[in-house]
């Protein structure tokens, strides 16, 4: 019923698709952005990773407008509760700034690439990214608690770059009920994958946290919650690099971005309130299930548009 209402709101008007700005459309978009912002805050990723598939698959908006508007929602989620992560000392600002050099460079490259890519290519790339993220989250869902309990994070030695920049951190984990200390290493892996994260952000409007957060956790000896807090700072800045270009190019549609930014801000505020109370394994399990479902849906739409291959619908 809801889907039919929104379908009816999109009218083919000559060469360009037109949108009837109705209560049903605004309510759906705001609700979707709120849910995406909530999940994004819980998992340290931008709302875009959930919001772009919803806008494309459910609301049938053009992919480029969905990506551009999702980037503003990523900035909104980063702004909304960045101070809370800073207050709790979960965010590692130095680490964020260093990783932002390759991430922002990647975001700029991804943005330029995106302006010239076909819609079905973007859908397929998005599907691959989601599948990778789902696998990473699922395969490491229990690793964090085990590593915190064994003191693995604080025993790790810094590598040359992290020693030279004095990269370390400490925060209080409310779920574990104890302070967690860690020393950052694996900077070479982190810096090189950060460029890919930026590329994904610029092309797909996801903020880059989906790649950076698991990499920081898995290869750089950063506990999941510190990676999430650091990722939260990074995604806003990364998204801004692309959003500036999209805004000036006209791809940020003001009537779409309003409900998206508003919903994402409310959702992110609620999500941050509960983030530090939820065990990492639960967060990762939830993330893995959602992302694999969205990967399949994006793959199905990409194959249909690019090669006229129809995959069976799930749900």
């Amino acid at each position: 019923m809801i889907q039919r209402l929104v379908w009816a709101d999109l009218v083919e008007g000559g060469a360009t698709v037109q949108m009837q700005y109705s209560y049903s459309f605004v309510l759906l978009l705001t609700g979707a952005a709120c849910g995406a912002g909530f999940l994004g805050a819980l998992l340290g990723v931008g709302a875009g990773i959930f919001l772009v598939p919803v806008m494309v698959l459910l609301l049938h908006l053009p992919v480029k407008i969905a990506v551009a508007c999702a980037l503003v929602s990523v900035i909104a989620t980063s702004n909304a509760k960045g101070s809370a992560y800073m207050d709790q000392r979960i965010t590692n600002e130095k680490l964020a700034m260093i990783l932002l050099i390759p991430t922002t460079a990647g975001a700029l490259s991804g943005t330029i690439l995106m302006l010239y890519l076909r819609e079905w290519v973007m859908l397929l790339v998005f599907a691959v990214l989601l599948a990778y993220v789902s696998y990473t989250a699922f395969s490491t869902r229990n690793a964090d608690e085990t590593r915190i309990a064994s003191g693995d994070f604080c025993r790790a030695g810094p590598d040359r770059l992290s020693a030279s920049l004095d990269l370390h951190g400490e925060y209080h984990d409310s779920a574990a009920g104890r302070p967690v200390r860690y020393v950052v290493n694996g900077m070479a892996v982190g810096m090189s994958t950060a460029y890919v994260a930026g590329l994904a952000s610029g092309m797909l409007g996801v903020g880059g946290g989906v790649v950076n957060v698991p990499i920081m956790n898995r290869y750089m000896s950063v506990p999941m919650k510190a990676a999430i807090g650091t990722g939260k700072l990074m995604i806003g800045i990364t998204a801004a690099v692309s959003a500036i270009v999209f805004l000036l190019a006209g791809w940020i549609h003001f009537l779409v971005v309003g409900p998206v930014a508003l919903g994402a801000t409310v959702g992110a505020t609620l999500g941050t309130m509960v983030m530090n109370r939820v065990p990492s394994a639960v967060l990762k399990g939830l993330f893995a299930v959602l992302t694999i479902y969205l990967a399949y849906a994006m793959l199905a739409k990409g194959l249909l548009l690019g090669f006229a291959i129809a995959l069976p619908r799930l749900g």
Binding site: M19, Y21, A76, T104, L108, D166, L248
Partner: protein, 151 residues
Amino acid sequence: MTLSQEANDTEQACRDAAVSRDEVFLPNAAEQVSQESARLFKALLGGAILSSAIYAVAILRELRTPRLVPLAPEWSRQYYNALNLRHGLLTGDPAALMLVATFMMTLTPVVRVLASVCGYRRLNDRKMVVVCGTVLGVMLLSLALGLVRIK
């Protein structure tokens, strides 16, 4: 071994590790910057709330007189003209209001990085000034590219 014993052993291991690198876990300049950043983030949060309020007003105004809107970049770009924008703001055009809100929202991370450059500069942390300055440089490059594309 009970869970509490295991936790105590882990705490001890962490303390031992910290003793060998005392400087690693002591409060340092980076933490001062973090505290400053937290304060700055709160100020930027005010900007985000203001943007959200403008969005809310604009959405409500747009819903009063629903219209068919093209989903194309040309439609957004018609507001990138000082006269059109001024007229839109004076008449309370929802799209013009949302343009201002989006502009504010998009610029907050730029201000955030600029403040980090200033913060690390005050602390004489040259390496971090270079790091943050590079990030700011990429942001300004994106602005320049966007302006070139408009032309």
